[in-house]
């Protein structure tokens, strides 16, 4: 069962490779922000499953921080795109 959790965690973060490609070639800055937001979502899921794999429930808080701070980051970056941050 723990191996299953570990495999799921690895697969969730392996999807991030595709998103890093989009972050490299994205023509506009907003494309890169989209890729970054999705990377954070995938990382949150991966951390949840890695916590189940390692059997350490203290890791679970990091997933919450990933979920909430990806929102904060993309909103701040979007405000920067609108030129309202400065």
């Amino acid at each position: 069962m723990r191996t299953v959790y570990g495999a799921i965690a690895f697969a969730e973060i392996a999807i991030g490779v595709l998103l890093v490609v989009r972050m490299a070639i994205g023509p506009t800055v907003a494309d890169r922000i989209v890729a970054l937001n999705t990377v954070c979502t995938q990382a949150a899921l991966s951390v949840l499953f890695y916590a189940a794999y390692a059997d350490r429930s203290i890791y679970l808080d990091v997933a919450l921080w990933f979920a909430s701070f990806s929102y904060l980051g993309s909103v701040v970056f979007a405000r920067y795109l609108e030129r309202e941050l400065l």
């Binding site: 069962m1 937001n37 979502t41 949840l48």
Partner: protein, 127 residues
């Protein structure tokens, strides 16, 4: 039996996450990519979280964190993608060539035309 359910749900979630990432790679313009990003959230994250809840039991701390994470993702991710789409649209990121129509641009165009006509009529009356 529990392992089978966990693997099945996680495969559903992983499949939708993968198709969302492939969509982010293949879609032609920014707005379609934002749609794919929301897609990984709804159908990619929820089955995976349900798989975690099924595997670890409903009354464990994993289930409570999975519930909180699902709540945060469902509530915050549409809001952030809305902020991103609005910022991109206001800062003039174009849609791709095959986009069918842009009713906001049409409305803006109509408003400009009306204002121009009104100005022309006003100047004509003054003369």
């Amino acid at each position: 039996m529990k392992a089978v359910i966990v693997i099945a749900l996680a495969c559903v979630g992983l499949g939708f996450s993968l198709s969302g990432a492939v969509g982010i790679l293949r879609m032609p313009d920014l707005y379609c990519r934002i749609q794919c990003s929301s897609k990984t959230t709804t159908m990619g994250a929820l089955p995976a979280l349900i798989a975690l809840v099924v595997g670890e039991g409903v009354l464990s701390s994993y289930a409570s964190r999975a519930l909180l994470t699902a709540f945060l993702l469902l509530l915050l991710n549409p809001a952030s993608s809305h902020a991103l789409a609005r910022a991109a649209y206001k800062s003039g990121v174009p849609m791709w060539d095959g986009a069918v129509r842009d009713e906001a641009a049409e409305a803006r165009h109509r408003r400009e035309q009306r204002r121009r006509e009104r100005r022309r009529d006003g100047s004509g009356q003054e003369d």
